[in-house]
Amino acid sequence: MIDLVNVSRLYHRGADEIHALERVSLHVERQRFVALMGPSGSGKSTLLNVLAGLDRPNSGEVTVAGKRLNEMSEDQLAAFRAHTVGFVFQFFNLIPVLNGVENVELPLLLTNLGKAERRQRAETALRIVGLADRGDHRPRELSGGEQQRVAIARSIVTDAELIVADEPTGDLDAKNAEEILSLLQTLRRDFAKTVVIVTHDPRAEKWVDEVIHLDKGVLLEKRPGGAARGAAGAAG
Protein backbone atom coordinates (compact mmCIF):
# COMPACT_ATOMS: atom_id res chain seq x y z
CA MET A 1 0.00 0.00 0.00
CA ILE A 2 2.73 2.47 0.99
CA ASP A 3 6.27 2.47 -0.33
CA LEU A 4 8.76 5.12 0.65
CA VAL A 5 12.34 4.85 -0.61
CA ASN A 6 15.09 7.12 0.73
CA VAL A 7 12.71 9.95 1.42
CA SER A 8 14.27 13.16 2.75
CA ARG A 9 12.55 16.37 3.70
CA LEU A 10 14.41 19.54 4.48
CA TYR A 11 12.94 22.75 5.91
CA HIS A 12 14.44 26.18 6.14
CA ARG A 13 13.65 28.14 9.23
CA GLY A 14 15.43 31.44 8.86
CA ALA A 15 19.08 30.61 8.25
CA ASP A 16 18.69 27.14 9.82
CA GLU A 17 18.19 23.94 7.87
CA ILE A 18 15.95 21.40 9.56
CA HIS A 19 16.20 17.80 8.40
CA ALA A 20 12.67 16.62 9.15
CA LEU A 21 13.21 13.32 7.35
CA GLU A 22 16.52 11.74 6.39
CA ARG A 23 16.57 8.92 3.86
CA VAL A 24 13.51 7.20 5.31
CA SER A 25 12.45 3.97 3.62
CA LEU A 26 9.23 2.32 4.65
CA HIS A 27 6.84 -0.31 3.40
CA VAL A 28 3.31 -0.71 4.77
CA GLU A 29 1.08 -3.54 3.59
CA ARG A 30 -2.59 -3.04 2.78
CA GLN A 31 -5.07 -3.34 5.64
CA ARG A 32 -2.52 -2.63 8.36
CA PHE A 33 -2.90 -0.36 11.35
CA VAL A 34 0.39 1.46 11.85
CA ALA A 35 1.47 3.93 14.52
CA LEU A 36 4.25 6.45 13.89
CA MET A 37 5.76 7.30 17.25
CA GLY A 38 8.61 9.39 18.49
CA PRO A 39 9.42 12.57 20.40
CA SER A 40 8.34 16.02 19.22
CA GLY A 41 10.27 17.09 16.15
CA SER A 42 11.13 13.52 15.24
CA GLY A 43 9.55 13.92 11.79
CA LYS A 44 6.53 11.67 12.27
CA SER A 45 3.97 14.32 11.20
CA THR A 46 6.16 15.21 8.21
CA LEU A 47 6.26 11.54 7.27
CA LEU A 48 2.48 11.34 7.56
CA ASN A 49 2.08 14.45 5.38
CA VAL A 50 4.44 13.06 2.75
CA LEU A 51 2.72 9.68 2.47
CA ALA A 52 -0.71 11.37 2.44
CA GLY A 53 0.26 13.65 -0.45
CA LEU A 54 0.12 16.84 1.62
CA ASP A 55 3.84 17.53 1.42
CA ARG A 56 6.55 16.75 -1.11
CA PRO A 57 9.91 15.26 -0.22
CA ASN A 58 13.12 16.92 -1.39
CA SER A 59 14.34 13.54 -2.54
CA GLY A 60 13.25 9.92 -2.56
CA GLU A 61 10.33 8.02 -4.01
CA VAL A 62 6.79 7.95 -2.60
CA THR A 63 4.31 5.41 -3.92
CA VAL A 64 0.89 5.05 -2.33
CA ALA A 65 -1.88 2.76 -3.59
CA GLY A 66 0.16 2.18 -6.69
CA LYS A 67 0.50 5.88 -7.50
CA ARG A 68 3.83 7.70 -7.63
CA LEU A 69 3.22 10.96 -5.78
CA ASN A 70 6.53 12.60 -6.72
CA GLU A 71 5.43 13.27 -10.26
CA MET A 72 1.96 14.58 -9.50
CA SER A 73 0.91 18.22 -9.93
CA GLU A 74 -0.87 20.07 -7.12
CA ASP A 75 -4.26 19.32 -8.68
CA GLN A 76 -3.38 15.67 -9.18
CA LEU A 77 -2.31 15.44 -5.55
CA ALA A 78 -5.61 17.03 -4.51
CA ALA A 79 -7.50 14.47 -6.57
CA PHE A 80 -5.36 11.70 -5.09
CA ARG A 81 -6.18 12.86 -1.56
CA ALA A 82 -9.87 13.20 -2.40
CA HIS A 83 -10.14 9.62 -3.66
CA THR A 84 -7.48 7.68 -1.78
CA VAL A 85 -6.86 9.29 1.60
CA GLY A 86 -9.12 10.04 4.53
CA PHE A 87 -7.82 12.52 7.12
CA VAL A 88 -8.36 12.70 10.88
CA PHE A 89 -6.75 15.50 12.90
CA GLN A 90 -6.01 16.04 16.57
CA PHE A 91 -8.43 18.95 16.98
CA PHE A 92 -11.14 17.28 14.86
CA ASN A 93 -11.19 20.29 12.51
CA LEU A 94 -14.81 20.16 11.56
CA ILE A 95 -16.37 23.12 9.79
CA PRO A 96 -18.26 24.92 12.59
CA VAL A 97 -21.02 26.33 10.36
CA LEU A 98 -22.00 22.87 9.09
CA ASN A 99 -23.75 20.19 11.10
CA GLY A 100 -22.39 16.68 11.54
CA VAL A 101 -23.88 15.11 8.44
CA GLU A 102 -22.92 18.14 6.32
CA ASN A 103 -19.34 17.90 7.57
CA VAL A 104 -19.23 14.23 6.64
CA GLU A 105 -20.74 15.04 3.24
CA LEU A 106 -18.05 17.63 2.49
CA PRO A 107 -15.55 15.34 0.66
CA LEU A 108 -18.42 14.00 -1.46
CA LEU A 109 -18.91 17.48 -2.95
CA LEU A 110 -15.78 16.68 -4.95
CA THR A 111 -17.50 13.71 -6.57
CA ASN A 112 -20.22 13.57 -9.19
CA LEU A 113 -22.75 12.09 -6.78
CA GLY A 114 -26.19 13.64 -6.55
CA LYS A 115 -27.43 15.39 -3.43
CA ALA A 116 -29.56 12.48 -2.19
CA GLU A 117 -26.77 9.96 -2.76
CA ARG A 118 -24.28 12.18 -0.94
CA ARG A 119 -26.61 12.53 2.01
CA GLN A 120 -27.27 8.80 2.15
CA ARG A 121 -23.55 7.98 2.15
CA ALA A 122 -22.83 10.55 4.82
CA GLU A 123 -25.56 9.09 7.04
CA THR A 124 -24.15 5.60 6.49
CA ALA A 125 -20.68 6.79 7.52
CA LEU A 126 -22.14 8.36 10.65
CA ARG A 127 -23.93 5.10 11.42
CA ILE A 128 -20.63 3.22 11.13
CA VAL A 129 -19.01 5.49 13.73
CA GLY A 130 -22.07 5.20 15.99
CA LEU A 131 -23.42 8.73 15.54
CA ALA A 132 -26.49 8.12 13.40
CA ASP A 133 -28.65 10.22 15.71
CA ARG A 134 -26.22 13.15 16.10
CA GLY A 135 -25.87 14.16 12.46
CA ASP A 136 -27.98 17.28 12.75
CA HIS A 137 -25.85 18.74 15.53
CA ARG A 138 -23.26 21.43 14.94
CA PRO A 139 -19.69 20.61 16.11
CA ARG A 140 -19.98 22.88 19.16
CA GLU A 141 -22.96 20.81 20.31
CA LEU A 142 -20.92 17.59 20.24
CA SER A 143 -18.38 16.27 22.77
CA GLY A 144 -14.72 15.89 21.79
CA GLY A 145 -15.14 12.16 21.28
CA GLU A 146 -18.23 12.70 19.15
CA GLN A 147 -16.47 15.34 17.06
CA GLN A 148 -13.60 12.95 16.42
CA ARG A 149 -16.09 10.27 15.37
CA VAL A 150 -17.63 12.73 12.90
CA ALA A 151 -14.11 13.44 11.61
CA ILE A 152 -13.54 9.70 11.19
CA ALA A 153 -16.87 9.38 9.38
CA ARG A 154 -15.71 12.21 7.08
CA SER A 155 -12.48 10.30 6.42
CA ILE A 156 -14.26 7.10 5.36
CA VAL A 157 -17.20 8.56 3.48
CA THR A 158 -15.39 8.49 0.13
CA ASP A 159 -14.32 4.89 0.79
CA ALA A 160 -10.68 5.97 0.84
CA GLU A 161 -8.19 3.09 1.03
CA LEU A 162 -5.86 4.93 3.38
CA ILE A 163 -6.86 6.64 6.61
CA VAL A 164 -4.23 8.94 8.12
CA ALA A 165 -4.68 10.42 11.57
CA ASP A 166 -2.43 12.97 13.24
CA GLU A 167 -2.69 12.58 17.03
CA PRO A 168 -6.31 11.41 16.86
CA THR A 169 -6.45 10.89 20.63
CA GLY A 170 -4.36 13.90 21.57
CA ASP A 171 -7.30 16.02 22.64
CA LEU A 172 -9.43 13.27 24.19
CA ASP A 173 -9.80 11.73 27.65
CA ALA A 174 -8.74 8.13 28.24
CA LYS A 175 -12.17 6.61 27.63
CA ASN A 176 -12.76 8.45 24.36
CA ALA A 177 -9.17 7.80 23.26
CA GLU A 178 -9.69 4.04 23.68
CA GLU A 179 -12.97 4.23 21.75
CA ILE A 180 -11.36 6.11 18.87
CA LEU A 181 -8.46 3.67 18.66
CA SER A 182 -10.91 0.80 18.75
CA LEU A 183 -12.90 2.43 15.96
CA LEU A 184 -9.80 2.87 13.82
CA GLN A 185 -8.95 -0.77 14.36
CA THR A 186 -12.48 -1.71 13.31
CA LEU A 187 -12.01 0.26 10.11
CA ARG A 188 -8.85 -1.70 9.42
CA ARG A 189 -10.37 -5.04 10.30
CA ASP A 190 -13.96 -4.80 9.03
CA PHE A 191 -13.64 -2.26 6.22
CA ALA A 192 -10.21 -3.27 4.90
CA LYS A 193 -8.66 0.15 5.44
CA THR A 194 -4.99 0.87 5.85
CA VAL A 195 -4.66 3.14 8.85
CA VAL A 196 -1.59 5.20 9.71
CA ILE A 197 -1.61 7.33 12.84
CA VAL A 198 0.88 9.68 14.43
CA THR A 199 0.67 9.47 18.20
CA HIS A 200 2.42 10.08 21.49
CA ASP A 201 -0.18 7.96 23.24
CA PRO A 202 1.39 4.73 24.58
CA ARG A 203 -2.12 3.21 24.74
CA ALA A 204 -2.14 3.14 20.95
CA GLU A 205 0.51 0.42 20.88
CA LYS A 206 -1.91 -2.31 21.91
CA TRP A 207 -4.36 -1.45 19.10
CA VAL A 208 -1.96 -1.26 16.16
CA ASP A 209 -0.31 -3.90 14.02
CA GLU A 210 2.99 -2.06 13.72
CA VAL A 211 4.82 0.61 15.64
CA ILE A 212 7.39 2.70 13.77
CA HIS A 213 9.75 4.80 15.86
CA LEU A 214 11.38 7.91 14.48
CA ASP A 215 13.84 10.33 16.00
CA LYS A 216 15.47 13.38 14.41
CA GLY A 217 14.04 12.44 11.05
CA VAL A 218 15.49 8.94 11.05
CA LEU A 219 13.47 5.73 11.17
CA LEU A 220 14.91 3.94 14.22
CA GLU A 221 12.74 0.91 14.75
CA LYS A 222 9.83 -0.98 13.25
CA ARG A 223 8.21 -3.56 15.53
CA PRO A 224 4.87 -5.35 15.85
CA GLY A 225 2.14 -3.65 17.85
CA GLY A 226 -0.21 -5.20 20.39
CA ALA A 227 -2.80 -6.18 17.79
CA ALA A 228 -0.25 -8.12 15.77
CA ARG A 229 1.15 -9.79 18.88
CA GLY A 230 -2.39 -10.69 19.96
CA ALA A 231 -3.13 -12.15 16.55
CA ALA A 232 0.15 -14.08 16.58
CA GLY A 233 -0.61 -15.32 20.10
CA ALA A 234 -4.08 -16.43 19.04
CA ALA A 235 -2.60 -18.20 16.00
CA GLY A 236 0.10 -19.91 18.18
Partner: protein
Amino acid sequence: MKYLPLVWRNLGRNPLRSVLTAAAIALAIALVCILRTMPAGLDAILASAAANTRISTHNEAGIVYSMPYSYLAKVRAVPGVVAAISWNWFGGALDLTKGVEFPNFAVDPDGFAEVYADWGLEPKVLEDFRKYRDAALVARQTLEKHRWKVGDVITLQSTVFPVTLSFRIVGANPNQGGALYFQREYLEQALAGAGVQFDTTGMIWSRVDDPERVAPVMRQIDEMFRNSEAITSTETEKSFIGNFFGGLKQLVTIIQIVAALVTLCIVFIAANTASMSIRERVGEIAILKAIGFRRQTIFSTLLAEAGLLALVAGIIGAVAAFGMLKALQLYATGAGPQLGPLTAFAVSNAILVQAIFIAFFIGILSGWVPALGASRRSVAQTLREVF
Protein backbone atom coordinates in the same frame (compact mmCIF):
# COMPACT_ATOMS: atom_id res chain seq x y z
CA MET B 1 -24.10 25.20 -7.44
CA LYS B 2 -23.39 22.33 -5.04
CA TYR B 3 -20.96 24.59 -3.17
CA LEU B 4 -23.58 27.33 -2.73
CA PRO B 5 -24.85 26.05 0.66
CA LEU B 6 -21.25 26.04 1.93
CA VAL B 7 -20.73 29.57 0.64
CA TRP B 8 -24.01 30.72 2.17
CA ARG B 9 -23.22 29.11 5.54
CA ASN B 10 -19.82 30.77 5.62
CA LEU B 11 -21.48 34.15 5.13
CA GLY B 12 -23.57 33.44 8.23
CA ARG B 13 -20.46 32.60 10.26
CA ASN B 14 -20.26 36.11 11.68
CA PRO B 15 -23.70 37.61 10.97
CA LEU B 16 -22.94 41.04 12.41
CA ARG B 17 -19.85 41.44 10.26
CA SER B 18 -21.69 40.25 7.15
CA VAL B 19 -24.63 42.58 7.83
CA LEU B 20 -22.38 45.59 8.44
CA THR B 21 -20.35 44.91 5.31
CA ALA B 22 -23.53 44.42 3.28
CA ALA B 23 -24.96 47.63 4.74
CA ALA B 24 -21.84 49.58 3.73
CA ILE B 25 -22.02 48.21 0.19
CA ALA B 26 -25.81 48.73 -0.01
CA LEU B 27 -25.43 52.35 1.09
CA ALA B 28 -22.73 52.99 -1.49
CA ILE B 29 -24.85 51.39 -4.21
CA ALA B 30 -27.95 53.38 -3.21
CA LEU B 31 -25.79 56.51 -3.37
CA VAL B 32 -24.47 55.55 -6.80
CA CYS B 33 -28.03 54.93 -8.07
CA ILE B 34 -29.33 58.23 -6.79
CA LEU B 35 -26.38 60.24 -8.07
CA ARG B 36 -26.49 58.53 -11.46
CA THR B 37 -30.08 59.78 -11.88
CA MET B 38 -29.08 63.41 -11.33
CA PRO B 39 -27.65 64.32 -14.76
CA ALA B 40 -30.54 62.62 -16.55
CA GLY B 41 -32.97 64.25 -14.11
CA LEU B 42 -31.53 67.69 -14.73
CA ASP B 43 -31.68 67.13 -18.47
CA ALA B 44 -35.31 66.03 -18.16
CA ILE B 45 -36.15 69.15 -16.15
CA LEU B 46 -34.43 71.24 -18.78
CA ALA B 47 -36.24 69.54 -21.63
CA SER B 48 -39.63 69.86 -19.94
CA ALA B 49 -39.09 73.44 -18.88
CA ALA B 50 -37.76 74.84 -22.11
CA ALA B 51 -39.58 75.60 -25.35
CA ASN B 52 -37.47 75.35 -28.45
CA THR B 53 -38.65 78.66 -29.96
CA ARG B 54 -38.49 80.82 -26.82
CA ILE B 55 -35.42 82.98 -26.45
CA SER B 56 -34.10 85.26 -23.76
CA THR B 57 -32.27 88.55 -24.23
CA HIS B 58 -30.36 90.06 -21.35
CA ASN B 59 -27.42 92.31 -20.66
CA GLU B 60 -24.20 90.66 -21.77
CA ALA B 61 -22.67 91.60 -18.41
CA GLY B 62 -25.20 89.39 -16.63
CA ILE B 63 -28.86 89.16 -15.76
CA VAL B 64 -28.49 91.42 -12.74
CA TYR B 65 -27.68 94.28 -15.10
CA SER B 66 -30.64 95.92 -16.82
CA MET B 67 -31.26 97.12 -20.35
CA PRO B 68 -33.23 100.13 -21.64
CA TYR B 69 -36.93 99.35 -21.91
CA SER B 70 -36.80 100.76 -25.42
CA TYR B 71 -35.06 97.56 -26.52
CA LEU B 72 -38.39 95.74 -26.28
CA ALA B 73 -39.90 97.57 -29.23
CA LYS B 74 -36.78 96.96 -31.28
CA VAL B 75 -36.82 93.25 -30.51
CA ARG B 76 -40.50 93.03 -31.38
CA ALA B 77 -39.66 94.54 -34.77
CA VAL B 78 -37.09 91.87 -35.66
CA PRO B 79 -38.42 89.65 -38.46
CA GLY B 80 -39.32 86.23 -37.13
CA VAL B 81 -40.17 87.43 -33.61
CA VAL B 82 -43.83 86.60 -33.03
CA ALA B 83 -44.06 88.29 -29.65
CA ALA B 84 -41.78 89.68 -26.95
CA ILE B 85 -42.30 90.79 -23.36
CA SER B 86 -40.12 92.51 -20.79
CA TRP B 87 -39.26 90.93 -17.46
CA ASN B 88 -38.30 92.75 -14.29
CA TRP B 89 -37.36 91.05 -11.06
CA PHE B 90 -39.61 92.50 -8.36
CA GLY B 91 -38.13 90.60 -5.44
CA GLY B 92 -41.40 90.74 -3.52
CA ALA B 93 -41.61 89.14 -0.10
CA LEU B 94 -44.67 88.22 1.91
CA ASP B 95 -42.64 88.76 5.03
CA LEU B 96 -39.29 90.53 4.80
CA THR B 97 -37.91 88.45 7.65
CA LYS B 98 -38.44 85.33 5.55
CA GLY B 99 -37.08 86.88 2.34
CA VAL B 100 -38.31 86.13 -1.17
CA GLU B 101 -40.12 82.79 -1.00
CA PHE B 102 -40.94 82.51 -4.68
CA PRO B 103 -39.76 84.45 -7.76
CA ASN B 104 -42.01 87.30 -8.92
CA PHE B 105 -41.71 89.37 -12.07
CA ALA B 106 -43.30 92.44 -13.65
CA VAL B 107 -44.11 91.56 -17.28
CA ASP B 108 -45.94 92.99 -20.26
CA PRO B 109 -49.39 91.41 -20.55
CA ASP B 110 -49.40 92.12 -24.28
CA GLY B 111 -47.60 89.25 -25.91
CA PHE B 112 -47.55 87.13 -22.74
CA ALA B 113 -50.01 84.62 -24.20
CA GLU B 114 -47.94 84.32 -27.39
CA VAL B 115 -44.57 84.02 -25.65
CA TYR B 116 -45.97 81.35 -23.31
CA ALA B 117 -48.30 79.72 -25.80
CA ASP B 118 -47.10 76.29 -24.70
CA TRP B 119 -48.44 76.93 -21.18
CA GLY B 120 -51.99 76.56 -22.46
CA LEU B 121 -53.43 79.34 -20.29
CA GLU B 122 -57.21 79.67 -20.53
CA PRO B 123 -58.55 82.68 -22.49
CA LYS B 124 -60.53 83.86 -19.47
CA VAL B 125 -57.37 83.88 -17.34
CA LEU B 126 -55.42 85.76 -20.00
CA GLU B 127 -58.28 88.23 -20.40
CA ASP B 128 -58.36 88.89 -16.64
CA PHE B 129 -54.57 89.21 -16.57
CA ARG B 130 -54.84 91.99 -19.15
CA LYS B 131 -58.00 93.56 -17.73
CA TYR B 132 -57.04 94.05 -14.09
CA ARG B 133 -53.99 96.18 -13.48
CA ASP B 134 -53.25 94.39 -10.20
CA ALA B 135 -53.76 90.92 -11.72
CA ALA B 136 -51.28 88.17 -10.93
CA LEU B 137 -50.66 84.74 -12.44
CA VAL B 138 -49.26 82.52 -9.76
CA ALA B 139 -47.52 79.15 -10.25
CA ARG B 140 -49.65 76.19 -9.20
CA GLN B 141 -47.13 74.91 -6.70
CA THR B 142 -46.96 78.35 -5.03
CA LEU B 143 -50.75 78.51 -4.87
CA GLU B 144 -50.89 75.11 -3.20
CA LYS B 145 -47.98 75.81 -0.87
CA HIS B 146 -49.65 78.94 0.48
CA ARG B 147 -53.19 77.58 0.07
CA TRP B 148 -54.20 80.51 -2.11
CA LYS B 149 -56.95 80.41 -4.65
CA VAL B 150 -58.11 82.51 -7.56
CA GLY B 151 -59.68 85.72 -6.25
CA ASP B 152 -57.41 85.96 -3.21
CA VAL B 153 -55.48 89.17 -2.71
CA ILE B 154 -51.90 89.00 -1.56
CA THR B 155 -49.39 91.70 -0.72
CA LEU B 156 -45.70 91.65 -1.58
CA GLN B 157 -43.14 94.11 -0.32
CA SER B 158 -40.39 94.59 -2.89
CA THR B 159 -36.78 94.10 -1.90
CA VAL B 160 -35.68 95.91 -5.06
CA PHE B 161 -38.06 98.84 -5.40
CA PRO B 162 -39.40 101.15 -2.67
CA VAL B 163 -42.98 99.90 -3.06
CA THR B 164 -45.41 97.39 -1.59
CA LEU B 165 -48.05 96.05 -3.97
CA SER B 166 -51.22 94.05 -3.51
CA PHE B 167 -52.17 91.54 -6.17
CA ARG B 168 -55.39 89.91 -7.18
CA ILE B 169 -54.82 86.30 -8.18
CA VAL B 170 -56.54 85.73 -11.52
CA GLY B 171 -55.14 82.34 -12.46
CA ALA B 172 -52.45 79.74 -12.21
CA ASN B 173 -49.41 79.18 -14.39
CA PRO B 174 -47.38 75.97 -14.82
CA ASN B 175 -43.99 77.50 -14.13
CA GLN B 176 -41.90 74.91 -12.30
CA GLY B 177 -39.91 77.55 -10.50
CA GLY B 178 -43.04 78.73 -8.64
CA ALA B 179 -43.07 82.21 -10.25
CA LEU B 180 -45.69 84.96 -9.96
CA TYR B 181 -46.21 87.33 -12.90
CA PHE B 182 -47.94 90.70 -12.79
CA GLN B 183 -48.35 93.70 -15.06
CA ARG B 184 -45.36 95.97 -15.59
CA GLU B 185 -47.66 98.98 -15.83
CA TYR B 186 -48.84 98.37 -12.25
CA LEU B 187 -45.25 98.61 -11.00
CA GLU B 188 -44.54 101.57 -13.26
CA GLN B 189 -47.42 103.57 -11.80
CA ALA B 190 -46.52 102.66 -8.24
CA LEU B 191 -42.94 103.75 -8.81
CA ALA B 192 -44.11 106.97 -10.48
CA GLY B 193 -46.12 107.66 -7.34
CA ALA B 194 -42.97 107.16 -5.32
CA GLY B 195 -41.04 109.48 -7.61
CA VAL B 196 -38.96 106.75 -9.18
CA GLN B 197 -38.38 106.62 -12.91
CA PHE B 198 -38.79 103.13 -14.38
CA ASP B 199 -37.50 102.76 -17.91
CA THR B 200 -35.41 99.62 -17.83
CA THR B 201 -35.95 95.91 -18.16
CA GLY B 202 -34.01 92.99 -16.78
CA MET B 203 -34.77 90.59 -19.60
CA ILE B 204 -36.76 90.31 -22.76
CA TRP B 205 -38.41 87.00 -23.58
CA SER B 206 -39.48 86.43 -27.18
CA ARG B 207 -40.98 83.69 -29.26
CA VAL B 208 -39.65 83.01 -32.74
CA ASP B 209 -42.01 81.80 -35.45
CA ASP B 210 -39.84 78.90 -36.63
CA PRO B 211 -37.30 76.74 -34.75
CA GLU B 212 -35.04 77.00 -37.83
CA ARG B 213 -34.95 80.79 -37.48
CA VAL B 214 -34.05 80.86 -33.77
CA ALA B 215 -30.29 81.10 -34.35
CA PRO B 216 -30.40 83.90 -36.99
CA VAL B 217 -32.94 85.87 -34.94
CA MET B 218 -30.72 85.65 -31.85
CA ARG B 219 -27.72 86.80 -33.89
CA GLN B 220 -29.72 89.68 -35.36
CA ILE B 221 -30.91 90.88 -31.95
CA ASP B 222 -27.41 90.90 -30.49
CA GLU B 223 -26.04 92.51 -33.65
CA MET B 224 -28.64 95.26 -33.31
CA PHE B 225 -27.37 96.26 -29.83
CA ARG B 226 -23.67 95.64 -30.45
CA ASN B 227 -22.73 99.32 -30.32
CA SER B 228 -25.40 100.44 -27.86
CA GLU B 229 -25.11 101.39 -24.18
CA ALA B 230 -26.10 97.88 -23.08
CA ILE B 231 -24.70 95.09 -25.21
CA THR B 232 -27.02 92.11 -25.18
CA SER B 233 -26.67 88.37 -25.09
CA THR B 234 -29.50 86.31 -26.47
CA GLU B 235 -29.86 82.63 -25.87
CA THR B 236 -32.44 79.88 -26.08
CA GLU B 237 -34.55 79.11 -23.05
CA LYS B 238 -32.86 75.73 -22.74
CA SER B 239 -29.45 77.40 -22.72
CA PHE B 240 -30.67 80.01 -20.25
CA ILE B 241 -32.03 77.44 -17.80
CA GLY B 242 -29.00 75.27 -18.45
CA ASN B 243 -26.77 78.11 -17.28
CA PHE B 244 -28.71 78.19 -14.05
CA PHE B 245 -28.18 74.45 -13.73
CA GLY B 246 -24.57 74.80 -14.84
CA GLY B 247 -23.35 75.35 -11.30
CA LEU B 248 -25.56 72.54 -10.10
CA LYS B 249 -24.14 70.24 -12.76
CA GLN B 250 -20.62 71.01 -11.57
CA LEU B 251 -21.78 70.24 -8.05
CA VAL B 252 -23.25 66.96 -9.28
CA THR B 253 -19.91 66.15 -10.94
CA ILE B 254 -18.13 66.81 -7.67
CA ILE B 255 -20.68 64.70 -5.79
CA GLN B 256 -20.20 61.91 -8.32
CA ILE B 257 -16.44 62.01 -7.83
CA VAL B 258 -16.97 61.84 -4.08
CA ALA B 259 -19.38 58.94 -4.61
CA ALA B 260 -16.73 57.14 -6.68
CA LEU B 261 -14.21 57.68 -3.89
CA VAL B 262 -16.74 56.41 -1.34
CA THR B 263 -17.25 53.34 -3.52
CA LEU B 264 -13.48 52.84 -3.61
CA CYS B 265 -13.39 53.10 0.20
CA ILE B 266 -16.14 50.47 0.34
CA VAL B 267 -13.95 48.20 -1.83
CA PHE B 268 -11.16 48.55 0.74
CA ILE B 269 -13.56 47.96 3.65
CA ALA B 270 -15.01 44.90 1.94
CA ALA B 271 -11.50 43.67 1.08
CA ASN B 272 -10.46 44.07 4.70
CA THR B 273 -13.56 42.18 5.82
CA ALA B 274 -12.91 39.39 3.31
CA SER B 275 -9.29 39.28 4.37
CA MET B 276 -10.24 39.04 8.07
CA SER B 277 -12.85 36.41 7.36
CA ILE B 278 -10.37 34.28 5.40
CA ARG B 279 -7.52 34.79 7.86
CA GLU B 280 -9.74 33.53 10.70
CA ARG B 281 -10.22 30.21 8.97
CA VAL B 282 -6.86 29.53 7.43
CA GLY B 283 -6.89 26.23 9.31
CA GLU B 284 -10.30 25.24 7.95
CA ILE B 285 -9.20 26.10 4.43
CA ALA B 286 -6.13 23.92 4.91
CA ILE B 287 -8.40 21.06 6.04
CA LEU B 288 -10.55 21.50 2.92
CA LYS B 289 -7.42 21.32 0.81
CA ALA B 290 -6.22 18.28 2.74
CA ILE B 291 -9.42 16.38 2.02
CA GLY B 292 -9.04 17.09 -1.69
CA PHE B 293 -10.43 20.52 -2.51
CA ARG B 294 -8.37 21.93 -5.38
CA ARG B 295 -6.87 25.42 -5.28
CA GLN B 296 -9.28 26.56 -7.97
CA THR B 297 -12.26 25.30 -5.97
CA ILE B 298 -11.05 27.03 -2.80
CA PHE B 299 -10.42 30.24 -4.72
CA SER B 300 -13.83 30.10 -6.40
CA THR B 301 -15.79 29.43 -3.22
CA LEU B 302 -14.03 32.22 -1.32
CA LEU B 303 -14.57 34.60 -4.22
CA ALA B 304 -18.20 33.49 -4.43
CA GLU B 305 -18.63 34.43 -0.76
CA ALA B 306 -17.43 37.99 -1.37
CA GLY B 307 -19.37 38.21 -4.64
CA LEU B 308 -22.60 36.84 -3.18
CA LEU B 309 -22.50 39.16 -0.18
CA ALA B 310 -21.87 42.16 -2.42
CA LEU B 311 -24.52 41.04 -4.91
CA VAL B 312 -27.19 40.73 -2.21
CA ALA B 313 -26.08 44.08 -0.77
CA GLY B 314 -26.16 45.61 -4.25
CA ILE B 315 -29.71 44.41 -4.85
CA ILE B 316 -30.77 45.80 -1.47
CA GLY B 317 -29.06 49.12 -2.23
CA ALA B 318 -30.59 49.34 -5.70
CA VAL B 319 -34.07 48.49 -4.42
CA ALA B 320 -33.66 51.04 -1.62
CA ALA B 321 -32.62 53.74 -4.11
CA PHE B 322 -35.53 52.83 -6.38
CA GLY B 323 -37.92 52.98 -3.44
CA MET B 324 -36.58 56.29 -2.17
CA LEU B 325 -36.76 57.98 -5.58
CA LYS B 326 -40.20 56.49 -6.21
CA ALA B 327 -41.40 57.83 -2.86
CA LEU B 328 -39.89 61.21 -3.69
CA GLN B 329 -41.66 61.18 -7.04
CA LEU B 330 -44.99 60.34 -5.41
CA TYR B 331 -44.45 63.04 -2.83
CA ALA B 332 -43.44 65.58 -5.47
CA THR B 333 -46.45 64.86 -7.68
CA GLY B 334 -48.94 64.49 -4.85
CA ALA B 335 -48.41 65.99 -1.45
CA GLY B 336 -45.83 68.56 -2.42
CA PRO B 337 -46.25 70.02 -5.89
CA GLN B 338 -43.62 72.64 -5.12
CA LEU B 339 -41.19 69.75 -5.54
CA GLY B 340 -42.48 69.28 -9.08
CA PRO B 341 -39.02 69.18 -10.75
CA LEU B 342 -38.06 66.25 -8.54
CA THR B 343 -40.47 64.04 -10.47
CA ALA B 344 -37.80 63.99 -13.18
CA PHE B 345 -35.42 62.07 -10.90
CA ALA B 346 -36.37 58.52 -11.75
CA VAL B 347 -33.93 55.66 -11.54
CA SER B 348 -33.90 53.70 -14.77
CA ASN B 349 -33.60 49.94 -15.14
CA ALA B 350 -30.23 50.44 -16.80
CA ILE B 351 -28.92 52.34 -13.76
CA LEU B 352 -30.25 49.63 -11.43
CA VAL B 353 -28.57 46.88 -13.43
CA GLN B 354 -25.32 48.85 -13.64
CA ALA B 355 -25.37 49.47 -9.88
CA ILE B 356 -25.93 45.78 -9.11
CA PHE B 357 -23.08 44.94 -11.47
CA ILE B 358 -20.87 47.49 -9.69
CA ALA B 359 -21.75 45.85 -6.35
CA PHE B 360 -20.82 42.42 -7.68
CA PHE B 361 -17.60 43.88 -9.06
CA ILE B 362 -16.84 45.40 -5.62
CA GLY B 363 -17.29 41.94 -4.10
CA ILE B 364 -15.08 40.19 -6.63
CA LEU B 365 -12.42 42.90 -6.40
CA SER B 366 -12.42 42.84 -2.60
CA GLY B 367 -12.26 39.05 -2.39
CA TRP B 368 -9.72 38.43 -5.14
CA VAL B 369 -6.44 38.99 -3.32
CA PRO B 370 -7.37 37.29 0.00
CA ALA B 371 -8.92 34.33 -1.85
CA LEU B 372 -5.89 33.97 -4.09
CA GLY B 373 -3.55 34.08 -1.08
CA ALA B 374 -5.57 31.48 0.82
CA SER B 375 -5.83 29.15 -2.16
CA ARG B 376 -2.09 29.30 -2.82
CA ARG B 377 -1.02 28.62 0.76
CA SER B 378 0.77 25.33 1.29
CA VAL B 379 -1.39 22.79 3.15
CA ALA B 380 1.45 21.19 5.07
CA GLN B 381 2.89 24.56 6.11
CA THR B 382 -0.52 25.82 7.24
CA LEU B 383 -1.21 22.65 9.20
CA ARG B 384 2.18 23.02 10.91
CA GLU B 385 1.56 26.69 11.72
CA VAL B 386 -2.06 26.47 12.79
CA PHE B 387 -2.35 23.11 14.54
